[in-house]
Protein backbone atom coordinates (compact mmCIF):
# COMPACT_ATOMS: atom_id res chain seq x y z
CA UNK A 1 0.00 0.00 0.00
CA UNK A 2 2.77 2.44 1.02
CA UNK A 3 4.66 1.62 -2.15
CA UNK A 4 1.64 2.51 -4.27
CA UNK A 5 1.20 5.84 -2.50
CA UNK A 6 4.89 6.69 -2.82
CA UNK A 7 4.88 5.77 -6.48
CA UNK A 8 1.78 7.95 -7.06
CA UNK A 9 3.53 10.94 -5.46
CA UNK A 10 6.63 10.26 -7.54
CA UNK A 11 4.45 10.33 -10.65
CA UNK A 12 3.35 13.86 -9.81
CA UNK A 13 0.08 13.12 -8.00
CA UNK A 14 0.06 15.79 -5.30
CA UNK A 15 -3.48 14.90 -4.21
CA UNK A 16 -2.06 11.76 -2.64
CA UNK A 17 0.44 13.87 -0.70
CA UNK A 18 -2.36 16.12 0.54
CA UNK A 19 -4.39 13.08 1.55
CA UNK A 20 -1.46 11.81 3.64
CA UNK A 21 -0.99 15.32 5.07
CA UNK A 22 -4.63 15.41 6.21
CA UNK A 23 -4.64 11.85 7.48
CA UNK A 24 -1.84 12.16 10.03
CA UNK A 25 -1.71 15.90 10.75
CA UNK A 26 -3.88 16.19 13.84
CA UNK A 27 -2.67 12.92 15.36
CA UNK A 28 0.85 14.23 14.90
CA UNK A 29 0.07 17.54 16.60
CA UNK A 30 -1.53 15.82 19.62
CA UNK A 31 1.41 13.41 19.84
CA UNK A 32 3.99 16.19 19.57
CA UNK A 33 2.30 18.33 22.21
CA UNK A 34 1.87 15.53 24.72
CA UNK A 35 5.32 13.97 24.25
CA UNK A 36 7.58 16.93 23.59
CA UNK A 37 5.75 19.79 25.28
CA UNK A 38 5.89 21.99 22.20
CA UNK A 39 3.22 24.53 21.33
CA UNK A 40 0.50 23.84 18.78
CA UNK A 41 2.04 26.29 16.33
CA UNK A 42 5.45 24.63 16.67
CA UNK A 43 3.93 21.19 16.13
CA UNK A 44 2.10 22.42 13.03
CA UNK A 45 5.27 23.86 11.54
CA UNK A 46 7.33 20.76 12.26
CA UNK A 47 4.68 18.63 10.58
CA UNK A 48 4.79 20.82 7.47
CA UNK A 49 8.59 20.62 7.38
CA UNK A 50 8.51 16.85 7.72
CA UNK A 51 5.94 16.53 4.93
CA UNK A 52 8.16 18.59 2.64
CA UNK A 53 11.17 16.40 3.52
CA UNK A 54 9.02 13.31 2.86
CA UNK A 55 8.02 14.71 -0.56
CA UNK A 56 11.54 15.71 -1.52
CA UNK A 57 12.99 12.38 -0.43
CA UNK A 58 10.48 10.56 -2.63
CA UNK A 59 11.34 12.72 -5.62
CA UNK A 60 15.08 12.41 -5.13
CA UNK A 61 14.72 8.63 -5.07
CA UNK A 62 16.00 8.45 -1.49
CA UNK A 63 12.67 7.06 -0.32
CA UNK A 64 11.22 4.32 -2.47
CA UNK A 65 9.41 2.37 0.23
CA UNK A 66 8.91 2.83 3.96
CA UNK A 67 10.32 0.09 6.16
CA UNK A 68 7.24 0.26 8.39
CA UNK A 69 4.51 2.68 7.39
CA UNK A 70 4.27 6.31 6.33
CA UNK A 71 2.94 7.38 9.72
CA UNK A 72 5.92 5.89 11.55
CA UNK A 73 8.29 7.42 8.99
CA UNK A 74 6.85 10.91 9.46
CA UNK A 75 6.80 10.69 13.24
CA UNK A 76 10.37 9.37 13.36
CA UNK A 77 11.61 12.11 11.05
CA UNK A 78 10.00 14.71 13.31
CA UNK A 79 11.40 13.33 16.55
CA UNK A 80 14.84 14.97 16.26
CA UNK A 81 13.32 18.33 15.35
CA UNK A 82 10.87 18.16 18.26
CA UNK A 83 13.57 17.21 20.76
CA UNK A 84 15.67 20.14 19.54
CA UNK A 85 12.77 22.58 19.97
CA UNK A 86 11.84 21.12 23.32
CA UNK A 87 15.42 21.52 24.63
CA UNK A 88 15.60 25.08 23.29
CA UNK A 89 12.35 25.96 25.03
CA UNK A 90 13.53 24.51 28.32
CA UNK A 91 16.79 26.44 28.17
CA UNK A 92 15.02 29.74 27.66
CA UNK A 93 11.87 29.03 29.62
CA UNK A 94 11.61 32.61 30.75
CA UNK A 95 11.66 33.94 27.20
CA UNK A 96 8.81 34.04 24.70
CA UNK A 97 8.48 30.64 22.95
CA UNK A 98 9.54 30.69 19.35
CA UNK A 99 8.31 28.62 16.43
CA UNK A 100 10.76 26.56 14.36
CA UNK A 101 11.81 27.88 11.01
CA UNK A 102 9.75 26.79 8.04
CA UNK A 103 10.31 29.57 5.60
CA UNK A 104 7.79 30.06 2.85
CA UNK A 105 9.76 30.98 -0.23
CA UNK A 106 8.66 34.01 -2.18
CA UNK A 107 5.91 33.00 -4.58
CA UNK A 108 6.72 34.32 -8.04
CA UNK A 109 4.56 31.61 -9.55
CA UNK A 110 6.37 31.37 -12.84
CA UNK A 111 5.21 27.78 -13.11
CA UNK A 112 1.57 28.80 -12.89
CA UNK A 113 2.00 31.09 -15.88
CA UNK A 114 2.98 28.16 -18.08
CA UNK A 115 0.38 26.07 -19.90
CA UNK A 116 -0.85 23.02 -17.98
CA UNK A 117 1.15 20.70 -20.27
CA UNK A 118 4.35 22.72 -19.90
CA UNK A 119 3.96 22.89 -16.15
CA UNK A 120 3.44 19.12 -16.03
CA UNK A 121 6.54 18.45 -18.12
CA UNK A 122 8.65 20.69 -15.88
CA UNK A 123 7.19 19.10 -12.77
CA UNK A 124 7.73 15.52 -13.89
CA UNK A 125 11.34 16.16 -14.94
CA UNK A 126 12.66 18.63 -12.47
CA UNK A 127 10.56 18.07 -9.37
CA UNK A 128 9.54 14.42 -9.52
CA UNK A 129 12.76 13.44 -11.30
CA UNK A 130 11.15 10.95 -13.65
CA UNK A 131 13.26 9.49 -16.47
CA UNK A 132 12.54 10.48 -20.11
CA UNK A 133 10.80 7.24 -20.94
CA UNK A 134 8.35 7.51 -18.06
CA UNK A 135 7.56 11.13 -18.85
CA UNK A 136 6.87 10.11 -22.46
CA UNK A 137 4.50 7.38 -21.25
CA UNK A 138 2.76 9.61 -18.68
CA UNK A 139 2.25 12.47 -21.10
CA UNK A 140 1.43 10.37 -24.17
CA UNK A 141 4.41 11.38 -26.31
CA UNK A 142 5.41 9.04 -29.10
CA UNK A 143 9.10 8.88 -28.23
CA UNK A 144 11.93 10.28 -26.12
CA UNK A 145 13.00 12.71 -28.86
CA UNK A 146 9.59 14.41 -28.77
CA UNK A 147 9.81 14.71 -24.98
CA UNK A 148 13.30 16.22 -25.17
CA UNK A 149 12.03 18.81 -27.62
CA UNK A 150 9.06 19.62 -25.40
CA UNK A 151 11.27 19.85 -22.32
CA UNK A 152 13.49 22.38 -24.06
CA UNK A 153 10.47 24.46 -25.14
CA UNK A 154 9.03 24.47 -21.62
CA UNK A 155 12.34 25.46 -20.09
CA UNK A 156 12.67 28.28 -22.63
CA UNK A 157 9.17 29.53 -21.74
CA UNK A 158 10.12 29.52 -18.11
CA UNK A 159 13.33 31.41 -18.85
CA UNK A 160 11.39 34.02 -20.80
CA UNK A 161 9.05 34.57 -17.85
CA UNK A 162 12.03 34.96 -15.53
CA UNK A 163 13.70 37.36 -18.01
CA UNK A 164 10.53 39.45 -18.25
CA UNK A 165 10.25 39.68 -14.47
CA UNK A 166 13.92 40.68 -14.15
CA UNK A 167 13.60 43.34 -16.85
CA UNK A 168 10.46 44.64 -15.19
CA UNK A 169 12.31 44.89 -11.86
CA UNK A 170 15.21 46.75 -13.46
CA UNK A 171 12.89 49.53 -14.71
Amino acid sequence: MEKILISAIKSGNNDVLLKIYKQYRNDFIRWAISNYKVSIEQAKLVYKEVMIVFYENINSGELTACNRDIRTYLFQKARVKLIRISKKEKSKASQQPTAPECSTPHLNLYLNQLTATSKMVIQLFYINGLPMKEVAENMGYKDVVAVKKKRFECFQQLMELINMKQQHEEF
Binding site: K48, M51, P105, L107, I127, Q156, M159, N163
Partner: protein, 104 residues
Protein backbone atom coordinates in the same frame (compact mmCIF):
# COMPACT_ATOMS: atom_id res chain seq x y z
CA UNK B 1 19.27 36.13 -18.11
CA UNK B 2 19.75 35.09 -21.73
CA UNK B 3 17.73 32.26 -23.26
CA UNK B 4 19.17 28.81 -23.52
CA UNK B 5 21.15 27.32 -26.35
CA UNK B 6 19.53 24.07 -27.44
CA UNK B 7 22.92 22.67 -28.37
CA UNK B 8 24.02 22.64 -24.74
CA UNK B 9 20.69 22.04 -23.06
CA UNK B 10 20.44 18.25 -23.45
CA UNK B 11 24.07 17.78 -22.44
CA UNK B 12 23.59 19.91 -19.35
CA UNK B 13 20.53 17.88 -18.35
CA UNK B 14 22.34 14.61 -18.93
CA UNK B 15 25.31 15.78 -16.85
CA UNK B 16 23.29 17.27 -14.03
CA UNK B 17 21.04 14.22 -13.64
CA UNK B 18 23.86 11.67 -13.93
CA UNK B 19 22.77 10.41 -17.31
CA UNK B 20 26.30 10.27 -18.78
CA UNK B 21 28.91 7.56 -18.66
CA UNK B 22 32.31 8.23 -17.07
CA UNK B 23 33.97 9.23 -20.35
CA UNK B 24 31.17 11.64 -21.30
CA UNK B 25 31.26 13.21 -17.85
CA UNK B 26 35.02 13.81 -18.03
CA UNK B 27 34.65 15.36 -21.46
CA UNK B 28 31.77 17.56 -20.33
CA UNK B 29 33.70 18.72 -17.25
CA UNK B 30 36.64 19.63 -19.45
CA UNK B 31 34.29 21.58 -21.72
CA UNK B 32 32.93 23.43 -18.68
CA UNK B 33 36.44 24.65 -17.95
CA UNK B 34 37.40 25.73 -21.46
CA UNK B 35 34.01 26.97 -22.71
CA UNK B 36 32.71 29.99 -20.78
CA UNK B 37 29.38 29.94 -22.69
CA UNK B 38 28.71 26.40 -21.57
CA UNK B 39 29.66 27.08 -17.96
CA UNK B 40 27.50 30.20 -18.00
CA UNK B 41 24.56 28.17 -19.33
CA UNK B 42 25.08 25.54 -16.69
CA UNK B 43 25.02 28.16 -13.93
CA UNK B 44 21.80 29.63 -15.33
CA UNK B 45 20.31 26.14 -15.60
CA UNK B 46 21.02 25.53 -11.90
CA UNK B 47 19.50 28.86 -10.89
CA UNK B 48 16.30 28.05 -12.81
CA UNK B 49 16.19 24.65 -11.10
CA UNK B 50 16.41 26.42 -7.75
CA UNK B 51 13.48 28.67 -8.71
CA UNK B 52 11.42 25.64 -9.79
CA UNK B 53 12.09 23.83 -6.51
CA UNK B 54 11.33 26.88 -4.39
CA UNK B 55 8.09 27.48 -6.21
CA UNK B 56 7.02 23.88 -5.78
CA UNK B 57 7.82 24.07 -2.07
CA UNK B 58 5.82 27.29 -1.75
CA UNK B 59 2.89 25.78 -3.62
CA UNK B 60 2.86 22.78 -1.34
CA UNK B 61 2.97 24.95 1.77
CA UNK B 62 0.09 26.95 0.34
CA UNK B 63 -1.90 23.77 -0.27
CA UNK B 64 -1.18 22.59 3.29
CA UNK B 65 -2.37 25.94 4.60
CA UNK B 66 -5.68 25.54 2.78
CA UNK B 67 -6.21 22.15 4.42
CA UNK B 68 -5.24 23.55 7.82
CA UNK B 69 -8.35 25.73 7.94
CA UNK B 70 -10.58 22.65 8.05
CA UNK B 71 -8.24 20.49 10.12
CA UNK B 72 -7.79 23.18 12.78
CA UNK B 73 -11.44 22.87 13.78
CA UNK B 74 -10.65 19.46 15.27
CA UNK B 75 -7.85 20.99 17.32
CA UNK B 76 -9.92 23.77 18.87
CA UNK B 77 -9.94 22.13 22.29
CA UNK B 78 -6.13 21.99 22.23
CA UNK B 79 -5.94 25.70 21.46
CA UNK B 80 -8.31 26.49 24.29
CA UNK B 81 -6.37 24.23 26.62
CA UNK B 82 -3.08 25.93 25.80
CA UNK B 83 -4.62 29.35 26.37
CA UNK B 84 -6.39 28.31 29.58
CA UNK B 85 -3.88 29.96 31.96
CA UNK B 86 -4.28 33.28 30.09
CA UNK B 87 -8.07 33.03 30.26
CA UNK B 88 -7.90 32.25 33.98
CA UNK B 89 -5.71 35.29 34.63
CA UNK B 90 -8.07 37.53 32.64
CA UNK B 91 -11.10 36.18 34.52
CA UNK B 92 -9.31 36.65 37.87
CA UNK B 93 -8.45 40.28 37.01
CA UNK B 94 -12.06 40.98 36.01
CA UNK B 95 -13.34 39.45 39.27
CA UNK B 96 -10.90 41.54 41.33
CA UNK B 97 -12.00 44.71 39.53
CA UNK B 98 -15.66 43.84 40.06
CA UNK B 99 -15.09 43.18 43.75
CA UNK B 100 -13.21 46.46 44.19
CA UNK B 101 -15.97 48.28 42.34
CA UNK B 102 -18.75 46.66 44.43
CA UNK B 103 -17.02 47.19 47.77
CA UNK B 104 -16.50 50.92 47.16
Amino acid sequence: MKNFNQKYFDEINAYHFNDMDAEERTLFEAMLIINPDLSDEYERFKSVLTIIKEEQRAELLQAFKQEDKILDKDLLHLTLKSKLPIYLIVVAIIIVFLLVFLLR
